[in-house]
């Protein structure tokens, strides 16, 4: 299994070069929200291990909200963020980036503070790497190559079914399976429809994963006497805070919404970037860190096969702290339009969203961390839209494919590779064709 890694480079923009940087970012698109193909500045399409990537300016419109707590808003620099999700390690990918996209990245990063003409690109990116506090991968171990091979397989199977009239003949499902399997093997014999075998899991990853699987609960268990006391204190304080924390969910600015909308719905999948400030004080920070730890743990060990709780539309997502954990960014790649995404959020994982987002300033009132919050549809939608940040450049390696498509293709491939299917499995398998 090839593990997926997320990378993210974050650097403050040189205020004198901001306009130039914005032009450079725009130059990567045919139109807002539509990346050039090929994109000469950063040839995303040439990387066969890159799933999704984006470049955006960390332009938070809500930094003033902290004033409701009597705290003077801090002036944060405007950052440029460059991030993506890749097969294999981040370091190897940085090296590949420098090799294939060095010139373009230099042009981009030269608009940031501290990137001189003599800077070593890889070192600089590594020095500006920001790790995620929690990250979700729709299907751990599924590589870009696998996605593409399985999509080609599915299309070929669809054609084969029609050519052979299997969609109108009355053959037993196991017979259909046998025929299609033979056809694919024949194609493979002729060098078509490759299905690369799964790579061996790197031993280091295996060890780290196992350590994480066992280690996190173990540490929590050992620390439980302290944690329980802390949790109790936190809960008491939390309830007090939840009753007094202010909601900031005004009607969203039509111009800002229109700008965000222009970037959306160009593919069956969309990007989502939202950010905000954490509510002040140790209680909220403690809770947020604990919740993110739990999300990261479950995403790594439980939600590894196409489902984040009930949500089946997210390809990659992550939560990233910045600015000494005063601010947090949520980034995701989801299927459908924003309205569908909100529907999933509110109706399927409202509790999960509240766990994290209710620690953000201005979130609709939650109760006991899981209730309320997103259940107030109107306020929740306004809150998210207000915190959303335009994603100037966005790339997805497999346009036209949703997470559900990818899951179907995995199931089709798996079934096809089985020499023989039992009757119920064969029946299910042919129904996916």
């Amino acid at each position: 299994m090839t593990p997926q890694t997320s990378f993210m480079v974050l650097a403050p923009v040189d205020p004198l070069r901001e306009a130039e940087l914005r032009l450079l970012l725009d130059s990567m698109n045919d139109a807002p929200g539509r990346l050039k193909k090929p994109c000469p500045l950063v040839p995303f399409h040439d990387f066969d291990t890159l799933h999704v990537a984006r470049l955006f300016l960390v332009d938070d419109q809500t930094t003033g909200d902290v004033a409701v707590y009597g705290i003077a808003p801090r002036r944060y620099p405007l950052y440029l963020a460059f991030l993506g999700d890749v097969d294999g390690g981040a370091d190897a990918f940085y090296a590949e980036l420098a090799r294939r996209a060095g010139e373009g990245l230099r042009a981009l990063f030269s608009c940031c503070m501290g990137f001189g003409p003599g800077a070593d690109l890889v070192d600089w990116m590594r020095a500006h790497h920001v790790g995620a506090s929690a990250s979700y991968v729709n299907w751990r171990g599924r590589t870009v190559t696998q996605v593409r091979e399985e999509a080609a397989l599915r299309e070929a199977l669809a054609v084969q079914v029609r050519t052979d009239g299997l969609d109108s003949r009355h053959l037993a499902p196991r017979e259909v399976h046998r025929l299609l399997r033979a056809a694919v093997r024949q194609a493979q014999g002729a060098g078509r429809l490759p299905l690369s075998p799964e790579a061996a899991t790197p031993i280091g990853h295996k060890a780290r994963n196992l350590l994480h699987l066992v280690g996190v609960p173990l540490v929590l268990l050992l620390a439980s006497p302290v944690l329980l006391v802390l949790a109790l204190v936190a809960l008491v304080r939390l309830r007090r805070l939840e009753k007094t924390d202010e909601e900031i969910c005004p009607r969203s600015d039509p111009a800002a919404s229109a700008e965000l909308s222009r970037l959306e719905d160009h593919d069956v999948t969309n990007q989502f970037t939202a950010m905000g400030s954490l509510k002040p004080g140790p209680t909220r920070l403690f809770i947020t860190r604990f919740v993110l730890l739990a999300i990261d743990y479950t995403a790594r060990h439980i939600y590894t096969r196409g489902r984040l709780a009930r949500v089946r539309t997210i390809h990659f997502a992550r939560w990233v702290f910045i600015d000494e954990r005063q601010r947090i960014i949520f980034l995701s790649n989801y299927d459908g339009s924003l309205e569908s995404y909100m529907d999933d959020f509110i109706n399927k994982v409202g509790f999960g969203l509240n766990l994290v987002f209710s620690n953000g300033i201005g979130y609709p009132r939650a109760s006991f961390l899981v209730g309320g919050g997103s259940k107030d549809e109107r306020k929740f939608k306004e809150y998210l839209r207000r915190h959303q940040v335009p994603t100037q450049v966005w790339y997805k390696a497999y346009p036209g494919l949703t997470a559900a498509d990818l899951e179907r293709n995995v199931r089709l491939r798996k079934g096809l590779e089985a020499t023989e299917l039992a009757e119920p499995e064969a029946r299910e398998w042919v129904s996916l064709l």
Partner: protein
């Protein structure tokens, strides 16, 4: 169940426009005037004196009815202050032709608003006046209502005529069979609603100022109390504010041209000229036979809010629960996309099972959780057909084919256009990816525009019991959007406010 919440406020039917409660089905003649305001005072004077039909039933039933609605441009033209207009929903304010919205609604290619006959970026109406009348009475009714104030106040942009095709839409199918029922008494048990598909929907889904399926109030303009707003009702959720939205709702109009000749010719070709087979395929597209009989199996017990008339029961008492793979009624059939008849959870779990379902730790069925719960996405349809009828036989036989303009003036009511009409149109009708499908949009209304990365967008999948699904490809575009706009259908009090009374 059944205990009215303390916040329930009885509905003043006299304040609600009749169209919310009645389809005016007995008033078989109708025409919709799309108007621009020419002279403000005259327009307001007409609006003040217009006999707008309320939702109070009368005996004997009326022989005419009239309803009025405004676009965002119309509210501006009528002099509604910017601060008041800003309280309406963003999608209403930016309008149906906003470019980003067009992408979501499938209004691209041949459906692009720049090609529309009306409502496109240049020809947006201000006011919609809908006239309904019993047979033979429409012309007289219209004439009586369009006197001096009308002619000096308005400039007609277009008159949308309708035709009476006896409840059959132009493709030849019985129409308007399934409609949500409004929970007028506001007694809906939302806890039970999670696990039950029913036809009753919270009043707030269709009428502003009342609780919706989330048990919340939809956004709408709430005004400070002053001499002008004093005639409005106070907001239930903010008693110190006057509610301009209360007892009003949003009305979506889309003129959909239906290419009936192309529809039946395509099916006829697929069926190799076998008429019964063509009917079968057409029924698979729709999910019902021409007579309206659903392909899905009837269910023994009526769900809550199920219609009571025997005929309606026969045609409506079903869900797709017993047909998860679409063998009886294809997943992509028109009525299944428009209303998946599902609940918040597949399998309706309770207790521990629901907790497991919430955590996503239940069974891993391929289609599970791919379709949103329908109760948040219902619309109330009030459309009417237009153009001459054309039988399936003539559609195939006539040479040259009869391609006269005909179709549907699609009209629907909803309190939240983004969550109801737009979601339905985007995620369910237009999306190639509805419920795990890949390469097909709605067989009737899909635009067939290519989608990057998808080998096709013009398929239709008919799952079979034990074998690969039968896939029809090369579906032409049968429906073309010819016009459209978002309107606000005000309460009678709001109408008086807006017309300066």
């Amino acid at each position: 169940m059944g205990v009215a919440p303390v916040t329930a406020h009885e509905v003043d039917y006299g304040d609600v426009q009749g169209l919310v409660r009645f389809g005016h089905g007995k008033l078989t003649e109708a025409t919709y005037a799309l108007l621009r305001v020419k002279q403000l005072e005259a327009a307001r004077a007409w609006l003040r004196s217009a006999p707008v039909t309320s939702a109070i039933p009368t005996s004997p039933p009326p022989t005419t009815a009239l309803q009025v609605a405004f676009t965002a441009d119309g509210l501006e033209a009528l002099g509604a202050p910017a601060a008041v207009r800003a309280g309406f929903s963003p999608e209403f304010l930016s309008g149906i032709t906003d470019e980003s919205r067009s992408r979501r609604l499938g209004d691209v290619g041949a459906n692009d608003p720049s090609l529309w006959e009306w409502g496109g970026r240049a020809a947006v109406p201000h006011v919609l006046v809908a006239f309904f009348a019993a047979p033979g009475r429409l012309a007289g009714f219209v004439q009586a209502q369009t006197g001096e104030a009308w002619t000096s106040g308005f400039e007609p942009l277009r008159w949308l005529e309708t035709s009476q095709l006896d409840g059959i839409e132009p493709f030849g199918f019985a129409d308007g069979i399934s409609q949500p029922e409004l929970d007028w008494p506001q007694a809906r048990d939302l806890g039970a609603a999670r696990n039950e598909y029913g036809n009753t929907v919270a009043l707030g889904e269709f009428l502003l100022g009342y609780r919706n399926e989330y048990d919340k109030y939809t956004d709408r303009p709430l005004l400070e109390l002053d001499s002008r707003s004093a005639g409005l009702l106070p907001a239930t959720d903010a008693p110190d504010k006057q509610d301009l939205g209360r007892n009003g709702t949003y009305l979506v109009v889309r003129q959909l041209r239906q290419d009936v000749a192309s529809f039946w010719r395509f099916l006829n070709r697929l069926a190799g000229g076998d008429r019964a087979r063509a009917d079968e395929l057409a029924a698979a597209f729709v999910g019902r036979t021409k007579a309206g009989v659903p392909l899905a199996a009837m269910q023994p017990a009526a769900g809550p809010g199920a219609p009571r008339k025997a005929e309606a029961v026969r045609l409506n008492q079903f869900t797709f629960d017993a047909d998860p793979t679409g063998v009886r009624c294809p997943i992509g059939a028109h009525i299944r996309r428009a209303n998946p008849r599902n609940t918040d959870y597949a399998g309706r779990p309770t207790g521990l099972a629901r907790l497991l379902a919430d955590l996503g730790l239940g069974r891993k069925v391929f289609r599970e959780d791919l379709t949103s719960a329908v109760r948040f996405h219902r619309i109330l349809r009030r459309g009417r057909e237009y153009g001459p009828g054309l039988s399936p036989q003539d559609a195939v036989a006539l040479d040259p084919p009869d391609r006269r303009e005909r179709g549907l003036h699609f009209i629907c009511l909803n309190a939240n256009i983004a969550r109801q009409f737009e979601f339905l149109q985007n995620a369910w009708m237009s999306s190639l990816k509805f419920a795990g499908l890949s390469w097909e949009s709605d067989p009737l209304v899909g635009n067939r525009e290519p989608v990057p990365g998808c080998p096709m967008s013009d398929a239709f999948t008919q799952p079979r019991d034990a074998g690969p699904a039968h896939v029809v490809t090369g579906l032409p575009r049968f429906v073309t959007v010819r016009g459209g706009a978002y309107f606000f259908l005000p309460s009678l009090r709001a109408l008086r406010y807006l017309s300066g009374a």
